[in-house]
Amino acid sequence: MESSRRNFLSATGAIALGAATPMTHARAQGAANTIRIGVLTDMSGPFRDISGPTSVVATRTAVQDFGSRGFNVEVLVADHQNRPDVGVNLVRQWIDRDGVDMVVDVPSSGVALAVNTVMRERNKVYLNSTAATVELTGAQCSPNTIHWTYDTWMLARSTGAALVRAGGQRWFFITADYAFGHSLEAQTMEFVRSAGGTVVGSVRHPFPGTTDYSSFLLQAQASRAQIVGIANAGVDAINAIKQAGEFGLMRRGQRVAGLLVFVNDVNSLGLQTAGGSVLTETFYWDLNDRTRAVTQRVLANGSPGGNRPSMGHAGCYSATLHYLKAVADMGAAAAKADGRAVIERMKAMPTDDDAFGQGSIRPDGRKLHPAYLFQVKTPQESRGPWDFYTLLQTTSPEEAFRPMAQGNCPLVRT
């Protein structure tokens, strides 16, 4: 039963991607010369567009760009349905039955943390790109894990502090009522207060299942806050921002700040609604020649519906490429034998790829690169599809992420 479902998922993944190579289920003790990468992602739920099939294509693009250096690489796909139990089971099967060496992507903080524990137990390599929780480099940091792309602290600092500096002193929060929303809200509040702003109120909406935000928006309006911070993600953020436009929050002088908005969400909102808002990502396809080049390759490899890569997808690309470089450096057999050693090698090597340029990995497992504050273009400013962002400000890698000393990561505690 389980096995047929897995086959089904792999098969649908392959069909969705138009992949020419069938996915085989080789035994764990199979060819010692083959590195197996598992993309664990949301293929069917609210995070499909910000991770999902485009993450798979981005991972394949990295494998393709890496080329052949004396070992084979296979990419497997599974849908964790945003459920920690499903995610953990899939990863155990991957490791025990299919001989998977590295797991990448893993959106949804709850699943991300559950998988973190399994990967550490089994001494495999875990490169998380799309989950937001800062715990992965905090109390739950692991010698088998690198948190690649972004986290709540970085979002809070970049968007929160920038808005206060731009004159947004009084804040109101609309927050998803679960771990991710709480931590994003708490961290943003901290930055707002330390930059001299005040928090005049907040409201927590049920998660999942809230589609109508008008009541919460009305409370935000009544609070007379200058900034309404939206601390949720995916379809929830889209609905909240869309309805904020409808109820005229912006026209009445309030500024709506989506604290976690991806380029794919902006595409869905439309510039009419999203135009003028600010947000933070660590990657934008139109940032420079290298980002445009890697985006072209991802699109050419069949990102469904022409979905352009966001920072999460770029993270899958960058993480996979750096991982393969480390494997080539130490040899496939050694890499398969000891995940921890691969992570150490990855931390020792500087990173360089088309998505994020040059960067590095901290001892606590935090990948470092700049964070960009963007303003979304208005329909008049945009020159065509996916021409969405104007760069407002760049935060250096050292300042963009939480200082290692504040994270309480046991790996680096002195």
């Binding site: 009522d177 909406h205 049920p206 009541s215 409370q219 995916g234 379809v235 409808e246 794919n264 469904p304």
Partner: protein, 294 residues
């Protein structure tokens, strides 16, 4: 500023009005469900997917054929209704003689398949759909800023509910329908084509869902799970109102919208739960629902 229970009065009025607006959606959706259950005895779990299809057809009409909101309001219910007719003819009609559970499982499965197909084609984050130019803007009511479009939704929903009720309770076709529900064999003996009537009733119920979908498209993100999110609440509304009771589903729809709206002020975290608490209490005290016949 005047306060009621520690909440500024303007805010409270605003919330009541919003509750009414959300109630309009609940009423419109539960109306279709109640019609289908009342006449066909089928618990239509595809309703959420059909609501979603209405919104997607509106989007497709605009993107591919350049037909705007007003055309969509007319055409989307017809197109999705036709899909409903096809579904009823080929599948659902085979299950009338069996237990409710079979119809429920079939429609649930079809709903999942439809949602999956749409998701595969269009992704999950949704598509943009704008409020028609005629209905953009808002009124300043003093206590709140009321988008014109939301006012329009309430008016249209009330008209649609009234029209449906009139057709079923006051017209000849309606009386045939009600008679066919009571005793199909006898009605057939009078020379009335009962299977055709069943098919058209299902089609009409589905068209109501699609109609609500078009109304929702400019407000909510047009995405594959938009129906799944709403349909659970709508089922609770139908159960509270009394399965199959048209008046019950309309009154309960508006009433629960208001209760939910007030919960969002006093205890926002519980706003998703409050409807189910009401449902549990109603089922314990009046198992047939508020307006149902035991």
């Amino acid at each position: 500023m005047d306060e009621i229970f520690g909440i500024p009065a303007p805010l409270l009025f605003g919330q009541l009005l919003l509750g009414l607006i959300n109630g309009a959606f609940y009423a419109l959706l539960s109306l279709g469900l109640a019609v289908i259950f009342g006449m066909l005895n089928v618990i239509n779990f595809t309703h959420g997917a059909q609501f979603m299809l209405g919104a997607f057809v509106a989007w497709a009409l605009l993107s591919f054929l350049g037909l705007g909101y007003w055309w969509a309001l007319l055409l989307a219910p017809l197109i999705v209704g036709a899909f409903g007719v096809l579904l009823e003819r080929t599948m659902i009609s085979r299950l009338y003689k069996l237990d409710h559970l079979y119809g429920l499982l079939l429609t649930f499965g079809v709903g999942l398949i439809v949602e999956g197909l749409v998701r595969n084609e269009f992704g999950s984050s949704g598509l943009p759909y704008r409020i028609p130019a005629e209905l953009q803007g808002s009124w300043d009511l003093g206590f709140m800023f009321m988008p014109i479009y939301r006012g329009w939704v309430v008016v249209v929903a009330i008209v649609a509910c009234l029209a449906t009720w009139l057709v079923i309770e006051k017209t000849k076709i309606g009386s045939y329908l009600r008679a066919a529900t009571e005793n199909p064999a006898l009605v057939q003996a009078f020379g009335i084509n009962v299977p055709l009537m069943m098919t058209l009733t299902y089609g009409a119920g589905v068209a109501l869902a699609a109609f609500a979908g078009v109304l929702a498209a400019p407000i909510y993100s047009v995405n594959p799970q938009m129906g799944a999110n709403l349909i659970i609440i709508v089922f609770a509304v139908v159960v509270i109102g009394g399965m199959g009771s048209i008046l019950g589903s309309v009154v309960t729809g508006f009433g629960l919208g208001i209760i939910e709206g007030l919960t969002k002020v006093f205890w926002p975290e519980a706003s998703a739960t409050v409807i189910f608490v009401v449902m549990a209490i109603v089922l314990l005290t009046r198992p047939a629902g508020l307006f149902g016949r035991a």
